[in-house]
């Protein structure tokens, strides 16, 4: 009797595993969308938008923390002449500065602005993290945050790219929106003005730009899929 139990058990376990794995793979393959295809596309677009907005909010939060910490420890005196001459390297990107402006411009243009901003910050953030890690300017907490910030900017860029692709497949925006390899993006990324920026200015500029990105994404979502939580 006992001699039979072991092989039987093994076979049983094997069968269970097989069933389970097949179910898992089946689950991966199954999509949220069922029959109503059109509604489902818009629903998943709204879902994508929510995700990127959440991501951008978190990124802005981190940049805000870093900036305040930096100001607290490294710039105790508020009145500094250098602050007058602050100039972000993304100043050349024309961004809508108000609600009406943001609502007035085209969707494609707004999307382009977001993409440009994200592209412009890829390298500076990475170098900032390198300098922080190398010089031990911050404590460990700050160093972790700078890395996180850099990673999040990267992830957000990919996420927004996905959203753009989705929008293009749905026909919401035209295909003229440049991707990552668009000339504007490359130009912005190539600009080496950021190398000479001070850390404080860099943090200040990025905090502002991350807030812009978050707001633009929210406005874009409410323009394209307004019925899903606006």
């Amino acid at each position: 009797m006992t001699a039979h139990i072991r092989p039987v058990c093994a076979v049983w376990v094997g069968m269970v595993c097989l069933v389970f794995c097949s179910r898992l793979s089946g689950m991966k393959a199954a999509s949220i969308c069922g029959n109503a295809q059109a509604e489902c596309h818009f629903l998943s677009l709204a879902n994508l938008f929510d995700r990127v907005i959440q991501h951008s909010a978190r990124m802005h939060g981190i940049s805000n923390d870093l900036h305040s910490e930096f100001e607290l420890y490294f710039l105790p005196s508020k009145n500094q002449v250098s602050r007058v001459g602050r100039n972000c390297h993304t100043s050349n990107i024309l961004t809508p500065n108000g609600k009406e402006n943001a609502q007035r411009i085209e969707r494609e243009e707004l999307t382009e602005v977001i993409m440009k901003l994200l592209a412009a910050w890829r390298d500076p953030l990475w170098h900032f993290h390198q300098s922080v890690a190398r010089n031990h300017r911050f404590n460990g907490y700050g160093s972790n945050k700078s890395l996180e910030m850099s990673d999040m900017a990267h992830e957000l860029r990919k996420g927004v790219q996905k959203v753009v692709e989705k929008m293009q497949t749905l026909g919401v925006i035209s295909n003229s929106v440049g991707g990552l390899a668009s000339p504007e993006a490359l130009l912005a990324a190539d600009g080496s003005g950021w190398r000479f920026m001070k850390d404080s200015d860099l943090l200040y500029c990025f905090r502002r730009d991350s807030n812009k990105i978050q707001n633009y994404l929210k406005i874009l979502k409410c323009r394209i899929v307004p019925e899903h939580g606006c």
């Binding site: 500065n97 108000g98 609600k99 502002r208 707001n215 929210k218 406005i219 409410c222 606006c230």
Partner: protein, 558 residues
């Protein structure tokens, strides 16, 4: 006109030199006095007049992230009417702009409308105070980002309702978004904070997810709660707290007091009644609740008698009332049977038998069937003694039956009729076959547990034994075949007075036979036995009556 103008002095001198006398001198004196005072005043004013003091910009606020307002505090005005003007510069351009609206937001304020407001742009503000003597500028006031000065108004129409349906009361708080805030376009994300304070305890903070309503569940009846709210736009500064609403939860226990009083009254009355009943009928209740457990008791045995310890009484008590195992009873009976002879006197005078008349104990559930030979079918002369449950047969009844049987049987011994083939052969032996079931002949093959040979007839010293395979059709010999498998052997032949020839075990054959097919064949054993004993087959054992061969044979021969 200057006080010290020469013309003025000339006039004064003229007046002094005039001939208008004292009257005019008095007048002159008064006028001089007034003039002097006026002169002094004007001097003082002239000396204290100054350019205006430095105004101070207090702060700016944007309630909805689309416009903003700035306020300043004017300095000392220098005794002269002053005027304040605000100038600002935006980041990235050197152009200086002036405040577009000085009036909308009240005194000493500047309101920037939608067109003038740019988010994510640095503003540099200055307020300049102007008066007749000069102007003074305030310090530069910088707004890094309009996002930093965002502070919404309080939520509107905060109403609190006490909802006391069901058993759990809760507070239902509802509100509207602050005025002028655009929540639909996605430009701002508004977040609310609700504060609930119970009387003087520490306030509790909630963050509602819904836009307009919230339910507070953990409220205590009878307590007073203070509820207020504030909101926030996109991680900006929190607004002020709204005006507090004070609510009191009604106390349910008080409302339901009469109900509970009634309930308690109505439950107390049956309780008291139950107690009275229980107390009055104590014994009855006790008996019903805890019935007395009967002690062990042997029927017919007097416990007191046993306790007294007399040996005779004990023996009588115990033996007389006990259910002996059937074997012993049968043994006695077999003794009995073999003792019997033709003469009734002998039978009746047997002391043992007379003693036995007392009580014949037969196992329970057994039907004692005694059939008469003379009248086989009719049962009028016969007695069917049915044994009761306790296994005890009425002694009188049995004695009668026995006697009758014996009496009846005696004359017919020699007849050797076949009538007794049916049922039990009840000769003068008084052999009683105990069957475990009621029934007539041919009853089912239920177990008669006894392996007996049927004694058909006793002829003097000859005992006619019914052979198994020749069993009569009507004979009720249930279980013969089965029981041969037990320790007993069947008697094949009785050889003389003290020799019994046992049959070999051929139960297989016999079991196949149906009982109905059996035919009674009486064999005269005696005749055979004269020729010689045939002890070769099987064992030679001494007979013990009815074919039941016991290990300890007892054989009585008259």
């Amino acid at each position: 006109m200057s006080l010290l103008a020469p013309s003025y002095l000339r006039d004064i001198l003229k007046r002094c030199s005039s001939s208008e006398t004292l009257r005019s001198n008095k007048q002159l004196f008064h006028s001089i006095e007034a003039d002097l005072i006026t002169l002094l005043l004007l001097l003082s004013v002239r000396l204290c007049a100054s350019p205006p003091g430095k105004p101070v910009l207090i702060g700016c606020r944007s309630p909805e992230k689309e416009t903003f307002t700035c306020w300043w505090e004017p300095g000392f005005n220098g005794g002269l009417p002053t005027r304040h003007r605000l100038f600002y510069e935006k980041e990235g351009s050197e152009e200086v702009h002036e405040c577009p609206d000085y009036w909308s937001a009240g005194k000493n304020s500047c309101f920037f409308g939608k067109e003038q407001t740019s988010i994510w742009v640095e503003y540099s503000l200055t307020v300049v105070a102007f008066n007749a003597l000069g102007n003074t500028s305030s310090d530069l006031f910088k707004i890094d980002d309009v996002m930093k000065i965002v502070k919404p108004y309080t939520p509107e129409n905060v109403t609190v309702l006490v909802n006391d349906t069901a058993n759990t009361p809760y507070l239902c708080v509802s509100w509207n978004h602050p005025p002028k805030v655009d929540t639909k376009s996605g430009w701002t994300t508004i977040k609310y904070e609700l504060r609930v304070q119970k009387e003087d305890n520490k306030p509790e903070i909630f963050h509602p997810n819904k836009k307009n309503s919230f339910k507070v569940y953990n409220v205590d009846p009878g307590a007073t709660y203070t509820v207020d709210m504030r909101c926030q736009l996109d991680q900006s500064s929190w607004s002020e707290w709204s005006t507090a609403s004070v609510v009191k939860i009604p106390n349910y226990f008080q409302n339901e007091k009469p109900f509970w009083i009634l309930v308690s009254i109505f439950s107390v009355i049956p309780l008291l009644a139950t107690i009275c009943i229980v107390v009055l009928k104590r014994k009855f209740v006790k008996q019903w609740l805890l019935p007395p457990v009967p002690g062990p008791k042997i029927r017919g045995v007097d416990v007191q008698l046993l306790k007294s310890g007399r040996a005779e009484d004990v023996i009588n008590a115990l033996i007389g009332n006990q259910n002996f195992p059937p074997a012993a009873a049968w043994m006695d009976q077999t003794e009995e049977y073999l003792l019997v002879s033709d003469s009734n006197d002998w039978l009746l005078t047997d002391p043992y038998i007379s003693q036995k008349k007392k009580s014949l104990v037969i196992p329970a559930g057994v039907q004692l069937e005694i059939q008469c030979r003379t009248s086989a079918p009719a049962q009028s002369d016969c007695e069917n003694a049915e044994v009761g449950k306790d296994g005890k047969v009425e002694p009188d009844h049995l004695a009668q039956t026995k006697e009758s049987v014996l009496n009846v049987a005696a004359p017919s011994v020699s007849s050797g009729s076949k009538e007794a083939a049916s049922g039990n052969a009840a000769g003068p032996t008084g052999y009683v076959d105990i069957q475990q079931h009621k029934g007539t002949q041919g009853a089912g093959p239920n177990a008669a547990q006894w392996d007996y040979s049927w004694v058909k007839e006793v002829n003097g010293e000859t005992i006619f034994i019914l052979k198994n395979e020749d069993a009569a059709a009507g004979l009720d010999v249930p279980g013969w075949e089965e029981n041969t498998a037990a320790d007993y052997s069947r008697v094949k032949e009785v050889n003389g007075d003290d020799v019994v020839l046992l049959q070999k075990h051929d139960s297989a054959d016999s079991s196949c036979k149906k009982k109905e097919d059996r035919s009674a064949e009486w064999t005269n054993q005696k005749a055979k036995s004269r020729h010689g004993s045939d002890c070769g087959k099987g064992a030679c054992l001494q007979i013990a009556g009815n074919g039941y061969v016991d290990s300890v044979p007892r054989f009585y021969v008259e």
